[in-house]
């Protein structure tokens, strides 16, 4: 959040405003700009949905630095930003398949052998595919719960015919959904004095963790493992 506010303030000052105030939360953005003539421009921007896209953050960061250093004009920045927005193509299959490798790695970190690792990797990729189908159409809670249900259903199904540690495998596979990063950012915001953003992220992490757990628990209780 501090980074968003920094960027806005840096760009506002570079655009010639005398005072720039911004307030960013995970669900909304408030900006007011004071020009030298004393007029104040204020905008409120509601943020309904975000996604993890570090490449876009890096690109916007580079733009804002070029703008502050007067290497780019307003029009150039605007068209570059619009270009970024159009580039946001739907996810490739590659990202989901490679993402499954994350689940594989976590299964090994949690003490799984090669069977658990391979299965977790494949199911992790499947989970990412399911979630990307639901992205934008269903709330995040339902995405996480659906992903967790698919993961545990597939893994319990396979464990009926093949001997392996289903718990470690499920744990690895749902790691692609787990809110560890959200929770760490939340505590980081809280420690840094960003209380509103910290609390709302904690709530987000809690809700996602509950959704995953409910998804897995429902399947496990139905399957009777």
């Amino acid at each position: 959040m501090a980074r968003v506010e920094d960027t806005i303030e840096r760009m506002g000052c570079a655009a010639g405003f005398t005072q720039v105030e911004s307030y960013a939360t995970p669900t909304g953005l408030f900006i007011s700009l004071h020009d030298p003539a004393g007029r104040v421009y204020t905008r409120v921007k509601r943020i309904r949905e975000g996604r993890n896209d570090i490449a876009t953050i890096a690109a916007v960061n580079a733009l804002s630095r070029a703008f502050s250093a007067k290497q780019m004009g307003v029009d150039e920045v605007r068209s570059a930003l619009e270009g970024l927005q159009q580039d946001r193509a739907p996810d490739g299959l590659a990202r989901q398949l490679i993402g499954g490798g994350g689940a594989l790695a976590f299964a090994v970190m949690f003490g799984g052998g090669w069977r658990e690792a391979v299965l977790a990797g494949m199911v992790g990729a499947l989970v990412l595919m399911v979630v990307s189908r639901l992205e934008g159409r269903f709330p995040k809670v339902l995405q996480a719960a659906a992903g967790a249900m698919v993961a545990s259903a597939v893994i319990t199904g396979i464990s009926r015919i093949w001997e392996f540690n289903a718990n470690v495998t499920i744990l690895g596979a749902v790691m692609v959904l787990a809110p560890g990063m959200v929770m760490t950012t939340a505590i980081r915001d809280l420690l840094g004095g960003e209380l509103v953003s910290g609390l709302s992220r904690s709530a987000e992490a809690l809700v996602i963790a509950v959704a995953i757990a409910v998804g897995v628990a429902v399947v496990l209780s139905l399957g009777g493992v």
Binding site: A55, N61, A105, M109, L128, P179, T184, A217
Partner: protein, 143 residues
């Protein structure tokens, strides 16, 4: 140990894809993750989990700050995927699973563990980033 370190690499690299890190930086993310997980695995025995996570998160944060300044990228390009192996996503999930399955005693233990681990990661990051910000205030590179 070698297996664990390479898994740290794989986890950070693949989460680099999940978080859509710019393509030319992904291998560096993997290296950051491998180092972090290696430090954690090596120190877990002597420092305990929370201490080892704090140390490893600090190492990851320092390396990310350096790489960010070096390659003119925001710090989170390296920090977010690199810290992933250390972040207690699994204990958060296990906590809620224990509560949902009405194992409240186990749930409370896991909940406290989760909060401590996340706190250790966050503390490592925040201490490092504030030191770096004070050291390099004039330049204003990165971030």
């Amino acid at each position: 140990m070698a297996v664990q370190i390479s898994m740290g690499f794989v986890a950070a690299l693949t989460f680099g894809f999940i978080f859509r890190v710019p393509a030319d930086q992904r291998l560096r993310c993997g290296l950051v993750g491998a180092l972090g997980w290696g430090v954690f695995t090596a120190m877990k025995g002597s420092w305990g989990e929370v201490g080892a996570v704090f140390l490893a998160a600090t190492v990851v944060a320092v390396l990310s700050e350096l790489l960010a300044r070096w390659h003119h990228q925001p710090v989170i390009v390296f920090l977010t995927p690199g810290i992933i192996p250390l972040v207690p996503g699994s204990t958060a999930y296990l906590t809620m699973l224990a509560f949902v399955q009405q194992d409240y005693a186990e749930g409370v233990v896991l909940l406290v563990t989760t909060v401590f681990l996340a706190g250790a990661v966050a503390a490592g990051i925040i201490i490092t980033s504030s030191i770096f910000r004070n050291l390099f205030r004039a330049k204003h590179v990165g971030r």
